[in-house]
Amino acid sequence: MEKKLILRGALAGGLGGLLAFVFARIFAEPLIQQAIDYEEGRGEAQEKLDRAAGLAVGGHEHEIFSRTIQADVGIGVGLIVFGVALGALFAVAYVICIGRTGNIRPRALALLVAAAGFVGFYLVPFMKYPANPPAVGNDDTIVQRTQLYLIMVAASLILMFVAVVLGQRLAKRIGTWPASMWAGLGFLVAVGVVMLVLPPLGHLDANVAEAGKRATETPLPLRDPEGNIVFPGFPADVLAKFRVYSVTAQLILWATIGLVFAPLADRLLTGKRSGSARVEETSAA
């Protein structure tokens, strides 16, 4: 039974990844290309400044994969494989939740676990460290940024788990609805504290040394020694759209996992034994 559920989770995840890829290919890839064009244009402007200042100019990076491969194959394989893994993890969480999260039907539980996954695994970390297109992000801070992002993801998931466990206990005393509200509120407050404690990316040492204390790593306009702008800052529209599409893609992914898995799990869990009416009766006890 558990194996079947996990396989169905992986299947739903793969489908979600495929849909997210179709969305990404149509909506996100043009933005990624614009960001890369910006990065290259900025690099050339920087080289000109360096040459004028008599500095050594570094050679161009060797491309391992063409942009076509990255944009047509890489992101596709990436999103589908990611979706399968996510779907399997989702199914593990679902299997563990069965029978431990109160009187709930298999389908509703699938949607709740998927919603929790979207919020806990992606949305909360995104609120602190949002997705960035190419060109936004300092090469020298990749280690710290990855660590901070992982801390944010771990904190979000652990706090969500704690909130669910405490909420379950509270529900026995004050009822499901108030308990859910309190658990949700507690989760938000705890997550907010973690966000306040963790530093903004702009405050990392390498970034402060470069441009003073800023909130983010988004490239500022490039100036020559006289202070004239020779290349603009990163376009705000591209950044904003990229982030909205990133959230949309994760919504597509998690919604597909929840909606595809729900009826499959329902058939497995209720169809195999008795009718769904009996499930409700006995589980109410």
């Binding site: 039974m1 558990e2 996990i6 990404a24 996100a28 890839e29 990624i32 491309e63 391992i64 491969i69 990255q70 944009a71 194959v73 890489g74 992101i75 394989v77 990436g78 999103l79 494989v81 990611f82 399968v84 893994a85 996510l86 399997a88 993890l89 199914a91 593990v92 299997v95 563990i96 069965i98 029978g99 431990r100 009187n103 039907r105 970390p125 995104f126 460290y129 949002p130 997705a131 960035n132 190419p134 992000g137 090469d139 990749i142 280690v143 940024r145 990855t146 660590q147 901070l148 992002y149 990229f242 990133s246 869990l269 209720t270 034994r273 009996r278 499930v279 006995t282 589980s283 006890a285």
Partner: protein, 73 residues
Amino acid sequence: MSNLSQTASGAISTPLVSAKAATIWLLAITAFLGLAVIYFVGMDEGMTSVFGNTAVVHEFFHDGRHFLGFPCH
């Protein structure tokens, strides 16, 4: 341990996963594999690298990493 009471109640409120070793292994291995895959798609050859720093994995998944919200260069 092995003789768990299999009440044929049909209720979903009975925990499906009990202390059965096989089940726990299945879940643990699935979770591990899932996280490993997510690591390779999202993070390998960035902060840390498993098979040498060739940048091949990083570059192949480049667009997906940015789009999924993982820190990238």
